[in-house]
Every structure is written in structure tokens, then in C-alpha cells.
Amino acid sequence: MNFEEFAAKPILANAGIRVPKSILCETPDEVARAAHDIGRCVVKAQVPVGKRGKAGGIQLANSVNDAKKHAQNIIGMKINGYVVDKVLVEAQSNIIREFYAAILNDPVTQTPLVMFSTEGGMDIEEVAASQPDKIKQAKIDVRHGLSLTQAFGLVEDLELSGANEEVAKVLIKLYSAYRKNDAELLEINPLVLNSSRSLEALDCKFVLDDSAVKRQPDLVAIGTPEKLTELEKRGEQHGIKYVELNGNVVVLANGAGLTMTTMDVVRHYGGEPANFCEIGGEAYTKGRAALELVLAKPGIKSLVVNFCGAFARCDVMMEGLLEAWVSLKPRIPVFFSIAGTGDEEAIIMLKKTLNLDPLPNIDEACKAAVKAAEGQ
């Protein structure tokens, strides 16, 4: 789950990292009042994507009028598909240096990684590509955490205008915020050294580990929900993984790998999948809701059902699906491929209820569904 700047920064502040004074606003008048309270400020669009500055969504204001004028331009602006409906009015800092600091879950080393760079304010991927030697990083053993020695060791050889020890302390605080909030990524860019020689976080990116949402209900309440279509929202409500796509061949399978493969095979035979929908794992009892969901998409032409039972039993999935089929009576052609745990029972149920036999394998089932969608 992603967090916009205004929702992410309090996480840093709670860990003792300094952030500039700011007020969240939704109208130009609110911005004017905030600018009056704060003084010289920055008006910043709040959207859950990067590159806001390049899109014109971040503007300096040296007067209340300036701030209001910027707010009028920014509110309602579209950045990367997101309409700006709120802005953060934040006190300006007198910047001497800009650094980069982050903690993230690294799939390659399979540990948390602490990262620091003297090249703050830039996209870190660009720094990594053009000046990789400017990025310092170290693995952290979660059992022991990030020690001051390790944090100091990471930055001690760098020229940081004498702020090395302060930077090390910020890294420790950043790590404790990362742990406390189940972050997948917690990034400060830029971390600035200001004219009063203190470190301040001018922007913050926070991504919450989706597997930890159950134990972070307070965070979930302020995070940005994923942008979903109406059907995808319905899937989420039912605990079914559904991704809406552009084609007309409906795909229903169990397990992420098998469902992706069914899509691949549909595409291989010249068809276009209408969706990704899987009812594997804990969702294997949701055949009924899943069928209702996939059939609700307009413009669909055929359906391929591919069950390979392991934990998810074919008979249980089939029972739910047939129940829904009988009550919905869809007129769409359907093709089955069935194997694995509970397959014999599932095949008998299919024959009894719909008088259908499964096709011999995934290729035949997908090929038939593609042909049916083409009207052959």
C-alpha cells in the first residue's frame, strides 16, 4: 500500500526525524490561510506517484497571494492519471546540501537494506545508473537491527559538511520507523542539511508491506487505496484476486501461476484474456462468487475454466461454480480443463449438471475458447 507525502511524513516525525511545518489543504482559500500562518512556503500536490515537481505540481511561494495562485493551478491538475484534490503547504527550508536515505526490503539479499547517497533530490534509479559509487548500502540482520556503529560506518568516509554523526542518527531513526510500521520501503529524498545545520526530511515515500495490513489498521486508514476498477473492487470484497484486462476470453483458474499460464495460452492461440481471476489457496470455496464476478464484464465472448487441484480441491471449486451457473444460466460458451485433487468428482459433477466433458488439456480448452470468441 502506498502513502502520499502528507500521510508518510508523520511516520518520520514520530520517530524523531525533523520535518518542516506543514498544513494539508483542499482549496485555494485554505492554502492562503495556511501560507499566512507558515510564511514563505512550498505548495505541493498530493498524489501517490513520483515526479510531481516535473509535472509542475510543486511550487515555491513567497507571499500569501503567490501561494493562492499556485494552489489555483495545482488543485485539479492531472499528474500521471491522478487528479490533485489536496496540497500540502510546507515551510521553505534554507538548503545547504541534499542527501538520500532509505530502508527497503531487498529480494536479492533477502534482508533489509539501508541506503544512503550524497546525491539527494534526484531519482535514485538515475543515480544508481550514472554514479553507482555515490550510493552506500548495507545489509541489516533484522534480529539485531541497525546499530549506531553500523550506521556510522556506512557514512564515516563521506564528506557530509560535518554532519556525519547526525546522518547516522537519522538512519537509526529511519530504521526504527521502518520496523515499527512494517515498511516495504521508507525513503527520504531529499534529506536536507539546512542553514541552521540540522537535518530535515523534505519528502518521504512510504510503502506498507501488503502482508502486514492486518496488524497495521491505523496505517491502512490513512494509506492510498489501490486504483481499482468496479469489478476489481468487487473481487477484493469477496477475497478473490481479479484483474480486469482488455480482451474477451474470460479466464477462471486456481493459483496465480496456473491462471497466468491460462492467460498466456489464450494469447498463444491468438485470443485476448478478459481478466485474471484465481480462486486458489484460501479462496477455493469461492467458485460461486468468482463466476458471478467474471461474467459481469461486458463484451465477453467465451470462458475457459482451468482447475489443477492441489490444496484447492477441484470438486469444491466446481461445486460453487456449478451452483452459480445453474442460477445465472449464462449463455456464454464454456470450456473446462480439470486435473489434480478432487478431479474425478469434479468431472462427474460437470457431466451431471451441464452435460459437459472437460477438454483433454489446457491447450485444447484455451484453443476452443479462443475459437468460440472469434465466432467460429
Partner: protein, 290 residues
Amino acid sequence: MHICRKNHSVIIQGITGKQGTFWTEQMQEYGTRVIGGVNPKKAGAKHCGVPVYGSVVDAAREVKVDATVMFIPPLGVKFAALDAIEAGAKLIVCLTEHIPIQDLMYFMAAADEAGATIIGPNTAGTVTVGECFLGFMPAFNTRIFQPGNIGVISRSGSLATLICQILTGSGLGVRAFLGIGGDPIIGTTTLDALKALDNFEGVEAIAMVGEIGGVMEEEAAEYAKTMSKPIAAFIAGGAAPIGKKMGHAGAIVIGDKGSYSSKKNALEKAGVNVIDTPMKMGEALRTGLA
């Protein structure tokens, strides 16, 4: 990594639950040496014909524990895994999906230090055909699993079921199946599994079932270059859109990283036969073995 054998003694963590019970019975029937289970609230009882202990550490005081299988809800896995590691288990199968990643990294570090192998999380487990299985694969279904000389690696249980069925249908059979799981961070990677199968007696060829996301297939390709056993690979997710998680937390393409073409290219450069539909797996391995 360690591969389970028929003489290994296995503890089922969470044996008394509905799924724990169902799959323990299946494992026992297949030949897995289940010597006990764990449920702190039912210590001293018997379940599925074996004693229930308060912890794996308790069990290890009475019996040697080689491996454990966890039927444990996501937020309980860290504690359960640490228990298994402390008890000296060398193979820990973690089936659970949606384990907080920081919990996972915590017990993976502990396992690493203790020399224990974590398989998963978010896996269907492993099958050593004709000997034992751990987890919830349909090892007992003879249309899916027949004994043979193929080693199978998969990030997805359901897709592995399909691949094994295809192998059986084409007259081939499986020596060992290693389900490694669909999460972005997992205890046994494609590379770890590939090395283990390369060195496992009776494996003559490898079926690698990957999917989009991460760089595990690319890493494994480096090792594949050094192997003499033939490998055929299928990578799922070629038709998936960029930037969307496709069911598995690990199945997401960011930019070009994790993409289908990056994996296909790396594997083909290493001499791996990358097939475009899973139905071709049997033929590809036959050609490789010929």
C-alpha cells in the same frame, strides 16, 4: 538445501486444524514419516495417530526432528518457525501466504545461521516421488505423479500440478518436485532448488517452472550454464500487464525488471529450452534427454 527422504522424521505444526488434519492424513498415507504434531493448547493428546506436543522444541526432547510442515496463520508463522529452528529441524516447509516480510526475513536469518532450509513461504511443498511428500501437493494422484527421472522446480503449486500431469501424460515421470513459493522473498530460490536437484540421485533432467517478477530465473541461468543435465523451462505471465501484481505477491513486472523477455533471454543464453506453452514440456525434456 535439504530434500526430504522417507527416513526423515516430520513434525506437523498446526496438526489439529482442518487443513492440518486433512493433509497430515494424506502425507501419512503416502509414506511421509510423521512422528508428531504441535498445538500448544492440545499438548499430550493424540491426533492422526501421533502425539501432539506443545512445541517442536518439546518434541525434540523425545524424538529427533528432521523436518516440519507449518499449517499456521500468517501472524503466527514467525514464532512457529523460530520454534522449529531452535528444535534443530533442518527442513521447514512454510505453506502460508501473506506472512509479513519483516517476520519472514527475521526467521530466515535465524534459519541461515542454524543451517536450516526454509521452503516457501506461499508454497504447496515438496514431493520425493515414491518416498514422501510435505505440504499439499496431490502426490498420491497417479495421473499427476509417476516415478521417473525428472526434477521439477516451481514457484506455483497449481501450475506444477499441470506440468507434472503433462509429464505423466507424455510417458515421463518425476523423481523430486520442489515447490519454492510465489512470494518475492523466499527461503529456497530457483537457484538453490536447481543446485539441489542437479546433485540429487536419480534426477536426469530438470523442468523449471518460473513466472514473471524478481530476478531468480536470471540468477539460476548462470548456474544452468555449468550443468550437463538438460533443462526445459516455462515462464508464466508473458501475457500479464506491466505494474500489476498477478495474484502472487512476487509476480509483478517493474519496468523491464522481472519481465518475461528478460528471463527467457537469460535462460536461452544458458542453453535452457524455453517453451511457449506448458504442453510442450514432455517433448522438450525428451529431446534434451535423447
